[in-house]
């Protein structure tokens, strides 16, 4: 992606989000003044928010502020939106990263094995796993996971990022508690935080796994039926070398796209997972803001999510060049 295309994408994202925010049937003024306010109070706040100005003027002011790193102040909690995002985004980043890690570590090998042993019992299992992952409502799966692993077995920590005994125990450096507890050398907090993140991360990881394994299988099948693979086998090359050195090497570029997309989806914030597990991440932040008509927070969150997509795209482009000489 070039600088120009990044700029155009960002502007487009800002414009569309801004317009949607203005035409949605929610009322930021009502959120502030309450439903019993008099007309004069309502009008005063309406003007104070600049809503009396033409849409394009409002949009221009907004762009100007964003370019200066100012997402505005949350209409509801009166804090700078940038501060709120700094607080909630690391929670999502931590959860999504662990989730996608599960997805890659388990999904890629599963996809490869399923393709190599096409039609075998392991292939059938991989397909069922992927199908369940796609079709099972995450809300139900999350609640069942909590009920079994937390409520009945007591193997994992409950909702929230850490237990009540460990809230604010380690100083926040990155905002990601696992990393902060390592930096602080506090292994008790690390263990507790891990016990809280393991279930939601596994859940997200499962969805990522379902997608990654299915796509890996499909890419591998395509490669394994290619003539160069037959040639390699005829030449007497070992099966491991055929699969990993030839077939898998050729799907890496496609896999990068799949993994990047999967990661971006998780980073957007899996709202339902965050709600079930009381995980204060960016997904639930944007959703709460949207339902409360806090458009500054919605726009700020959307810009960050857009940036993530763009950064992951750039990163994917860079990796293409590493893995595919033709892209250089």
């Amino acid at each position: 992606m070039t600088f120009g295309s990044v700029t155009v994408t960002m502007l487009g994202l800002l414009f569309v989000t801004f317009i949607i925010g203005r035409v949605m049937p929610i009322d930021p003024v009502l959120s502030i003044v309450g439903e019993r306010a008099s007309k004069s109070t309502y009008d005063a706040v309406y003007n104070q928010l600049g809503l009396d100005k033409p849409l394009l003027v409002q949009f221009f002011y907004y762009i100007w502020d964003v370019l200066h790193g100012d997402f505005g102040t949350s209409l509801l909690n009166a804090r700078p939106v940038a501060d709120d995002i700094r607080r909630v985004f690391p929670a999502t980043l931590e959860l999504a990263s662990l989730g996608v890690l599960f997805g890659i570590v388990l999904g890629v090998p599963l996809g490869v094995i399923a393709a190599v042993r096409r039609g075998s019992w392991i292939d059938q299992i991989a397909r069922v796993v992927a199908l369940v992952g796609y079709s099972m409502p995450i809300f139900w799966l999350g609640l069942m996971g909590l009920l079994v692993f937390y409520g009945i077995l007591g193997w994992v920590g409950g909702p929230g990022r850490v237990g009540i005994f460990y809230v604010d125990v380690v100083p926040s450096v990155t905002g990601m508690i696992l990393i902060d507890s390592i930096i602080d050398g506090n292994w008790t907090v690390f263990k507790d935080a891990f016990s809280h993140i393991i279930l939601p991360a596994s859940l997200l990881g499962y969805y990522s796994l379902a997608y990654v394994s299915r796509m890996t299988r499909s890419f591998m099948l395509e490669q394994l039926s290619a003539e160069y693979i037959t040639t390699a086998r005829v030449k007497g090359m070992s099966e491991r070398a055929v699969i990993w050195r030839h077939a898998f090497r050729n799907i890496r570029v496609q896999l990068i796209t799949v993994i990047a997309l999967s990661y971006a989806n998780l980073l957007e914030g899996s709202v339902l997972t965050e709600i079930i597990f009381s995980w204060p991440g960016i997904g639930s932040y944007i959703t709460t803001a949207l339902l409360s008509a806090d458009m500054n927070a919605v726009l700020g969150g959307t810009v960050v999510v857009g940036l993530i997509f763009i950064l992951l795209n750039i990163f994917s482009d860079l990796l293409y060049r590493v893995f595919d000489p033709r892209a250089k």
Binding site: P25, K191, P280
Partner: protein, 531 residues
């Protein structure tokens, strides 16, 4: 494949070891109260600005007031708090409070009459959303120096006319009556904001608790004030965690990771009831469900039609089915436990009676629209109404929309029927009487959109004057009787059918004692709680 197998086995073993070695806690510590609640409505901690449920919960435990409710004896009404006594002038317009000696703010500064003067003046000058609770007594930014004055250890407030003392004092128990530490707040003033920006996220009170941290949509952590003038609270730390889901709250409660779950739905209440060590409390809150009829509608403005519609509501059917345990039948605009509240509910579902009344009014084939906000219980109520109205030949078309869509039309007198909820703003009967039964100017030009009577284009036919009279009546008992009479007339004549009053069902660990949520009149109190 061996390498792969090894990798997968190692990963699985690693996870298993990690998760099975997690410590499991049977219950929270004896000096700590942990609550699961939906706290995403907190927008500010400044008592001059806070006007939401979860914010009021925090404020009540952080800020002392001149007068306050005793959580263990709510029925006694307002009691001395930071003011130990008060006197009323002969003309009934001035109340002079004598401040309690020896009380300190969390900062260590003494609580003085000057702090009370500053706090009340500040609330009027800032003029935030709840400011009307004070400004309705005639206080304005221009006159507060004369009307709210400290002198030594006393504070005198002078209203623009005589009001019932109970009305004024009840209003001072609202969140906006919180007394802030003037020195601390002034030290954090920025651009003449009277410390508003700082107090949005910080506290400067003298109450039982101080806020250690507030993370929006995440948690509020409070620590006890060992110098609290009523004695150091037993719960040294109170943590309120934002837990959106009822099922999640129930799991946390049953596992002993929280002490109180405040948002359990009827299914989870039923499930938690049978769990050993868990108790369920029912407490009446102030929220009312009602329907109202636009009096600009030619048919709905007929008295017989208004009456008929009150007979076309399946009160018991709804209470005993989808509202089970969450709402109780209540047909009066003052919630139970309010001064002047009555518990007379004369209307029941009576299709024949309704048909008679409609025939008497000469109405047939009536088709009307009801506006409902997109909330499950409201939609279900509207659907029940649609069913029972149809039995009397009335077609009720349900329009579901967002708050903006429905309220905008309601405030513009554009709906035939509105189905919604109303919660009192402060613990005095005037809060509801002054909106349901009060409408001094019914003209379109008046634009009194804050008054429910105006929104329904209802000329109250003399009730406005009666509400005015009740609000200045000095005798508490006489005043209560006046509200009884107003509500009796209202029930019969008003284009409002009050349907239900909210019951809050709370799950708590059995070892948690003395937790009161504040009933219909105030917010939760943590300081009497013991384990």
């Amino acid at each position: 494949m061996n390498a792969l197998n090894r990798l997968m086995t190692t990963a699985a073993l690693g996870l298993a070891v990690a998760v099975t070695s997690v410590p499991s806690w049977a219950e929270t510590p004896a000096n700590m109260l942990v609550i699961a609640n939906r706290i995403d409505d907190i927008t500010t901690l400044d008592p001059a600005e806070s006007f939401e449920f979860a914010g009021s919960d925090v404020s009540r435990n952080v800020y002392g007031k001149l007068v306050n409710f005793d959580p263990l004896n709510m029925g006694a009404g307002y009691q001395p708090d930071l003011a130990e006594s008060w006197t009323v002038s002969e003309d009934g317009k001035s109340i002079t409070f004598t401040m309690r000696e020896g009380v300190k703010f969390h900062s260590g500064n003494p609580v003085t009459a000057q702090d009370a003067e500053y706090s009340l003046r500040r609330a009027v000058i800032l003029n935030k959303t709840p400011a009307f609770i004070l400004t309705q007594f005639g206080f304005t930014p221009e006159n507060v120096e004369q009307t709210i004055k400290a002198d030594g250890n006393t504070l005198t407030i002078t209203t623009d006319k005589r009001y019932a003392t109970s009305f004024v004092l009840n209003c001072l128990t609202a969140t906006i009556g919180g007394i802030v530490d003037m020195k601390t707040v002034m030290a954090n003033e920025a651009d003449g904001d009277m410390g508003n920006t700082w107090l949005k996220t910080n506290t400067a009170g003298s109450g039982a608790y101080t806020v250690q941290s507030w993370k929006p949509n995440d948690s509020v952590t409070m620590v006890s004030n060992p110098d609290f003038y009523l004695g150091a609270p037993a719960m040294e730390r109170v943590i309120v965690r934002h837990v959106q889901e009822s099922a999640t709250q129930r799991l946390l409660l049953e596992r002993g990771d929280i002490d109180v779950a405040r948002n359990l739905n009827p299914e989870d209440i039923a499930g938690a009831r049978s769990v050993a060590g868990v108790a369920i409390d029912d407490e009446l809150r102030g929220r009312l469900m009602y329907i109202s009829l636009n009096q600009n509608h030619p048919e709905l403005s007929k008295p017989q039609v208004r009456q008929a519609i009150k007979y076309l509501v399946d009160y018991e059917g709804m209470q005993n089915s989808f509202l089970n345990g969450q709402y109780t039948i209540h047909q009066n605009f003052l919630p139970q436990t309010y001064l002047g509240a009555v518990n007379e509910n004369p209307f029941t579902l009576n299709i024949d009676k309704a048909k008679e009344l409609l025939a008497e009014a000469g109405v047939s084939g009536l088709e009307i629209e009801v506006g409902v906000r997109e909330a499950q219980e409201r939609i279900e109520i509207a659907q029940s109404l649609q069913n029972t109205f149809a039995q009397a030949g009335i077609t009720l078309n349900i329009t579901v929309g967002t708050a903006k869509q429905i309220l905008a039309r309601y405030r513009a007198r554009d709906l035939d029927v509105y189905m919604g909820a109303w919660g009192p703003d402060y613990p005095d009967p005037q809060t509801n009487a002054g909106t349901f039964a009060y409408n001094p100017d019914n003209s379109v030009e008046a634009q009194a959109t804050g008054l429910l009577a105006w929104r329904n284009a209802w000329d109250t036919g003399g009730l406005t004057e009666k509400v005015d009279a009740a609000v200045v009546e000095g005798d508490r008992e006489v005043r209560a009787q006046m509200y009884h009479d107003i509500q009796a007339e209202f029930r019969e004549t008003a284009p409002f059918a009050i349907l239900f009053q909210k019951i809050e069902q709370t799950g708590r660990s059995e070892n948690v004692k003395n937790l009161t949520l504040g009933g219909a009149i105030t917010a939760v109190s943590y300081w009497p709680v013991t384990k």
